[in-house]
Amino acid sequence: MMFVPLTTDILVWLLFAAIAAYFVYVLRQPHLLMPWRRVTQSAYGMSALVVLAAFIVVGLLDSLHYRPVLERKAGQDAAYSTEVLSVFDVVATGLRARRERTYSAPFATRAYARETIEISGPGGKPRQAREFPRLSWGGAHLKDEAERDNDIFVRAAQGLMLGLLAWCALAAAVTLLHARLANRTAREAWRAIWRTETRTPWHAILFTAGALLAFAGLAFALCTHYHILGTDKVGRDVFYLALKSIRTGLVIGTLTTLVLLPFAVTLGIMAGYFRGWIDDAIQYIYTTISSIPGVLLIAAAVLLMQVYIDRHPEIFPTAAERADLRLLFLCVILGLTSWTGLARLLRGEALKLRELEFVQAAQAFGVRDARIISRHILPNVMHIVLITLVMDFSGLVLAEAVLSYVGVGVDPSMISFGTMINAARLEMSREPIVWWALAAAFVFMFVLVLAANLFADAVRDAFDPRVRAGYAPRLANAKA
């Protein structure tokens, strides 16, 4: 096995470590902890976080790549496959390996299209017929196809039981944890949770986790013997594709913000703090960049990237690394075109802050500008940065789909929501209609983006001082 750390893998894990470090730091800072406490008290915010966490686990597992060893002969060096797999692929080996020849509907036992196959006719003579052939994996264990519904029902019941068991374990753990923290007996804790008397909305968390576990149990029990979301044109399991798309969406949503952050923060604060010609210059830069239509600028840059890749095929040993570089480049381009909005917000905030007494006092004491910015301005604009970052995430996931549709998104060989939708466009005009790939992309994307949007709302409500100070109290109440 050869470990292949793709560039985006490294960045994703670094980002994950940075976020973890941030939360360790926050735990020791009461004033930073307070708004996060408020986030944990929002029922819909925590439900969204549970869903997001499930997506993130899949995405992180899918971000550890390696190249498997090909069969080794004695006395030879190990040869590595050109196929790059991830840890997630190992977990889902079954899903990946069970390929059909072409389309098949969810839970189908027969293919979508007729093929010429040999069947034994009367008298034992083989004859040829146009038939819907049995799938090589989907429902292949059934001797009689009439048993299918029964089999699905039994397996679904088993899966649900499994999910229920897992949920019970989780609920017990949560109850005991709450009992411990609140100094109650387990029975009281259980009652408090379901009467929604706990400060952290454990009922909402358990409810969402229950729905997720039920789905996971069902999927786990059924996907080993059926294609629960059908197969695509080349026979890949759509459920597997949808799970693989999660990583692409997460990478675009997070790494892009990583790129835009340094530009937006340094330039935005500098413009507001120094004013004068620095302000003019920075304003000029961001007005110019934001006046170029975003999609076109991205398209132009990606076209150029494409030319570069075409001319230098030798620097990419595997297709996955080439696709990965293109993904990274897309993040960089998206970041470079979208830092202007945050910079403008930060400039306005810095303009206000520099007139406040504590900044002027620091200036009177002769504190250097760099130190004033890092010690006095930056901590006071961090809530804006944080709110913008979480709010931007869902928009970026949606943007990926549109860009991939236009043909300037991720590499066509990379599995993503955009490429799934793109392929589905032709499938919609088939007869009978191939709806499952599109439906799967829709549901997975909708759940991911909705969870991100709800979580972003919770973060904004907790961090926005205007909401907190009762500036818009009705807004806060209506939201709750």
Binding site: Y284, I285, T287, T288, I289, S290, S291, I292, P293, V295, L296, L297, A299, A300, A301, L303, L304, Q306, V307, D310, R311, S394, L398, A401, V402, Y405, V406, G407, V408, F417, I421, A424, R425, M428, L438, F442, M445, F446, V449, L450, A452, N453, L454, D457, Y471, A472, P473, R474, L475, N477, A478, K479
Partner: protein, 325 residues
């Protein structure tokens, strides 16, 4: 006032120069004309003569910035920078790779784009304001709560799904409107009805939610309390005071997109087969026609800057407190 407008318009010039330089750098320095020729001719089997011939045909066989083979002013004008980039300022876009005049294409294709975008814009604002006002009127009730939930859910659906779903329902299942295509004159209505509806619906989520916050912010202000205190009915407060004052940020925020309506909608036009500028741009991107993409980048920037200018002007017109500095 006129002096203010002129001064604002002059600010646009350095920005346009910046846009021009960025596009020049992107399209000619990072990526040389040789690369473009190779893409158009096929990357692998291509001879040096074929590349030279392609460059000569498309006018890329000149030096980048400075031509030392000719005399006088031609040293600067007989270059790629002048021919391809500076000429954009007078809207001389040159020819597309298929030899057609880009300028002519743009002038014919902007009308279908506008025919789609203008109704989407106007109906969209009206619909969003209606929903937002309704939610603000029933604020802090279940109607408001579920309205916001619905808005967030609608925001979470990719625009592609609205288009695909709309086409599937109305064109394939119910056969109400043709699935795609376009015709001029009164026939345009049946082709545009669905794209306009899809455009409006896909914008409701974010639009109505945003306007709702504007109205709620407005309703927290003192003049609203005064209006209530003097005994005005809640409907009168909403329509006569809140709506009117809320319209200031809504309209000034909307003005910036008016010029860019000409640019059309990239995705919708290509799905519905409307021969506008949006589908023109997408086709150019997919055919890797750099001349067209470059022209559209420049045109889009010009229109956006006009939009910014209009926004500034509308601020001063709507709100007399804004000073003309």
């Amino acid at each position: 006032m006129i002096a203010y407008i002129v001064r604002r318009a002059l600010y646009a010039i350095p920005i346009l120069i910046g846009v021009n330089l960025i596009t020049f750098a992107l399209f000619f320095v990072v990526n040389t004309p040789d690369d473009m020729a190779r893409i158009q001719l096929g990357v692998r089997r291509v001879t040096a003569e074929a590349v030279e011939k392609w460059k000569a045909e498309h006018g890329y066989d000149k030096p980048m910035l400075f031509n030392d083979r000719v005399e006088g002013l031609d040293q600067f004008t007989n270059t790629i920078f002048y021919e391809k980039s500076v000429r954009l300022f007078v809207f001389d876009f040159g020819n597309a790779d298929d030899g057609r005049s880009i300028r002519h294409e743009i002038s014919t294709r902007m009308w279908p784009s506008l025919a789609l975008q203008l109704p989407v814009f106007l109906v969209g604002i009206a619909v969003n304001i209606t929903f937002a006002l309704l939610m603000a009127f029933f604020r802090a009730t279940y109607l408001d709560f579920w309205g916001v939930v619905l808005c967030v859910a609608m925001m979470s659906i990719s625009g592609l799904f609205y288009i695909i779903g709309g086409q599937y329902l109305f064109s394939k299942i119910w056969n109400v409107v043709p699935i795609s295509g376009y015709a001029g004159g009164p026939d345009a209505f049946k082709f545009l009805a669905l794209p306009v509806a899809v455009g409006v619906v896909s914008g409701i989520g974010s639009g109505a939610r945003w306007y709702r916050t504007i109205f709620l912010e407005e309703m927290g202000k003192d003049y609203v309390r005064t209006a209530r205190a003097k005994g005005l009915a809640e409907t009168a407060v909403m329509f006569r005071h809140v709506l009117k004052n809320g319209m200031i940020p809504i309209l000034t925020g909307a003005v910036v997109v008016i010029p860019t309506l000409f640019m059309g909608a990239l995705i919708a036009e290509s799905f519905f087969g409307i021969p506008g500028l949006g589908s023109y741009t997408i086709d150019a991107i997919q055919a890797q026609d750099f001349a067209v993409v470059r022209s559209m980048v420049f045109l889009g920037s010009v229109l956006y800057i006009v939009g910014l200018l209009l926004t500034d002007i509308s601020y001063t017109m709507v709100d007399p407190r804004v000073q003309l500095e």
